[in-house]
């Protein structure tokens, strides 16, 4: 048995963990790439990164992100940005805190430690030269958390929800990255960049033995069965965990069917076919389908509301009665 609120919280733990890693990879990439670019080139690259992370609308709110420093602050420690590392790390900590009695103590300790260390850095406003240090720290902490998850957590519903959250977030990021790549205003699809941002470059080299071409990179990211980050692998894992939940709790059948359908369309080449005809609409539709899956899971979990509206009602003698405030 798992509380609906806990299921929801752990789903978001998975998503925020994945988001932390993705943002850190983007920051790492940016730190290494932008220094070689001219001012206008850097601006385009920054825009692309923000788009890849799905943060266009948030970025629009904070104004222009022209320089490196601004981009780093935005992605690293801007509390107004729900996708910043600080926001994600805080969210992971808070969600784990609220599910504390059902997760391994070590998982809480690692997440709490990451949050505390990160706060130390961000409170001290890290100068750019310490950026690599922060990123390394976060990356290591994420690895430690993954280690506890994989080796120290009972394979119960809670574990399943964390994995599902990760897989969903990862799928959305990967497809979002490819969409952004196809619509790059610079007119070229940068295959190396895509593989770097998904930590898949090395794996691609070992598998294919040559420099990546755009089509090969996209196919690899979507369909590779040997790559745990590929969309195919992610959907398969999400589907397996949803099956576990169906078996133990008899719940989330709708979500499992939706994921299964998507995975089957991928396997049967249906999506590849659509991409051959018109890649951008096909990929956008895929991106949309994944978002649908995420919302279907939320609907089936039915977590209680954070701040439900409660109203009071009463009758009084002499008159009919009335309603109280919330």
């Amino acid at each position: 048995m798992i509380l609906a609120r806990h299921a929801d919280a752990l789903l978001w733990v998975g998503r925020y963990l994945e988001r932390t890693e993705a943002t850190v990879r983007c920051l790492d990439y940016a730190a290494n790439s932008i220094i070689h670019l001219r001012g206008d080139e850097a601006r385009v690259e920054i825009e692309q990164l923000v788009k890849t992370l799905g943060l266009e609308s948030v970025a629009a709110l904070v104004g222009s992100l022209e320089g490196r420093r601004q981009l780093f602050a935005f992605l690293l420690s801007d509390t107004g940005n729900p996708g910043s590392v600080l926001s994600a790390v805080s969210a992971v900590r808070e969600k784990l805190r609220s599910t504390r009695e059902r997760i391994p103590i070590e998982l809480w300790e690692e997440a709490n430690g990451l949050y505390l260390r990160f706060r130390e850095f961000s409170d001290a406003a890290p100068p750019p030269e310490r950026l690599q240090e922060v990123l390394l720290m976060v990356r290591r902490a994420c690895l430690a958390i993954s280690g506890v998850l994989n080796e120290g957590m009972r394979r119960d519903e809670g574990y399943a929800f964390i994995v599902i959250g990760r897989m969903i977030e990862r799928s959305i990021f990967t497809v979002g990255l490819i969409v952004a790549g196809y619509t790059d205003p610079r007119g070229t699809i940068d295959a190396t960049r895509m593989l770097r941002l998904t930590s898949s470059l090395q794996a691609y080299h070992r598998r294919h033995g040559h420099a990546p071409d755009p089509e090969g990179a996209v196919r690899y990211l979507l369909f590779a069965t040997d790559l745990p980050r590929s969309l195919q692998s992610c959907l398969l894992r999400a589907e397996d965990r949803l099956k576990d939940i169906g078996a133990t709790a008899g719940a989330l059948d709708g979500s499992r069917r939706k994921v299964g359908l998507l995975r089957a369309r991928l396997e049967l080449g249906e999506i590849e076919e659509a991409m051959a005809q018109a890649p951008v609409p096909a990929l956008s539709a895929l991106h949309w389908d994944l978002a649908e899956v995420a919302s279907e899971i939320a609907v089936e979990v039915v977590p209680p509301l954070d701040f439900p509206t409660v109203r009071s009602q009463y009758l009084r003698p002499g008159e009919a009665g009335g309603l109280g405030g919330t």
Binding site: V310, R311, S312, L315, R316, P317, E319
Partner: protein, 322 residues
């Protein structure tokens, strides 16, 4: 007097609401002045209704509706026999009120309570003191307070809402039966008379003029009046709203410190909806023959509660009230 009372409460919401939970205090008390022949509460949507007695001895029906709904209807049907009330209190001198034992026994009805707090300002106690300073006996004192309340307030529907303070009431000069009762209780307590709030039904077309009622069937709202403890005579009832005595036309639901202890309905629900509330009490004299089943009786299964569920509780509470 044999009376049939039908109390219909209807809440209609602007959008679906969920998880409504309500306490309903509409079942008349069963005691030496009135006998409940039958009682049932039906609700729509139909759910299980739980019954219990609260600290004050009032029957509480708990009605909850978890599923989404856009209306909640409660209907309480009671047949009750009321008996003539005891004679008016003897000429107890006011000095008897100061007896420490008497005060200790009634201290809950001497202290301020949430809806009856005369200590937030000076005017309530001052007016009560001025009105009663010449009273030598407790009945005189009670009459003086009722007269003072009737002089201070005029009956006006919609002039007040729950949560109005006694000071605001006096300043506004208008209210409904509940406000008359609260002000009278505040004044009585401020001059050392234990006083309590009574929630109930009144068989009269106009609650401000209960005396000259001739109708056989009336459509009204629930009513509120007061009781004061008189040394040597127990609780004596008064109706400050109409200035009259309390008799066979008054049906008691419960007595407590103030409205907050005996509201007819109190509840919460989830959802941001606005609601319209309709409530209506229909009271009539019961025909000598047993009534046939009401033609409006519905066929679907519904929860029905009848009679007191816990044998020992009412008795214990009656003891406490003596």
């Amino acid at each position: 007097m044999k009376l049939d009372i039908r109390y219909r409460m209807h809440f209609r919401y602007s959008e679906p609401v969920r998880e409504s939970q309500n306490e309903v205090r509409v079942r008349p008390r069963d005691d030496e002045t009135q006998r409940v022949v039958s009682f049932r509460l039906t609700n729509e949507p139909p759910t299980k209704v739980l019954s219990a007695f609260d600290y004050w001895g009032t029957a509480v029906e708990q009605v909850g509706v978890r599923i989404a709904h856009t209306a909640l209807e409660l209907t309480a049907e009671t047949s009750v026999d009321t008996l003539p009330r005891p004679a008016p209190p003897p000429d107890t001198p006011v000095e008897a009120l100061a007896d420490p034992d008497f005060r200790a026994r009634h201290f809950e009805f001497l202290d301020p309570s949430p809806h009856v707090d005369w200590q937030t300002g000076d005017s309530v106690a001052a007016r009560a003191a001025a009105a009663t300073h010449s009273a030598r006996s407790v009945p005189d004192l009670l009459a003086a307070v009722v007269a003072e309340v009737r002089g201070a307030l005029r009956y006006e529907s919609g002039a007040t809402d729950i949560g109005v303070s006694l000071e605001e009431l006096l300043a506004g000069g208008a209210g409904v039966c509940q406000d008359f009762a609260h002000l009278a209780i505040g004044m009585l307590r401020s001059v050392g008379v234990p006083a309590r709030y009574v929630s109930g039904y009144l068989f009269a077309a106009d609650e401000t003029a209960a005396g000259d009622e001739t109708a056989e069937m009336v459509s009204v709202q629930t009513h509120a009046w007061i009781e004061a403890a008189v040394p040597g005579a127990g609780w004596c009832a008064f109706d400050p709203t109409n200035g009259g005595t309390v008799g066979e036309r008054h049906v008691v639901i419960g007595c407590a410190r103030d409205y907050g202890d005996v509201p007819p309905v109190r509840g919460v629900f989830m959802g941001g909806a606005t609601a319209e509330v309709e409530a209506e009490v229909v009271i009539g004299k019961r025909p000598a023959v047993e009534p046939a089943p009401s033609p409006g009786a519905r066929s679907w299964p519904r929860a029905v509660t009848q009679g007191p569920p816990l044998g020992s509780r009412p008795q214990q509470h009656q003891q406490q009230q003596q």
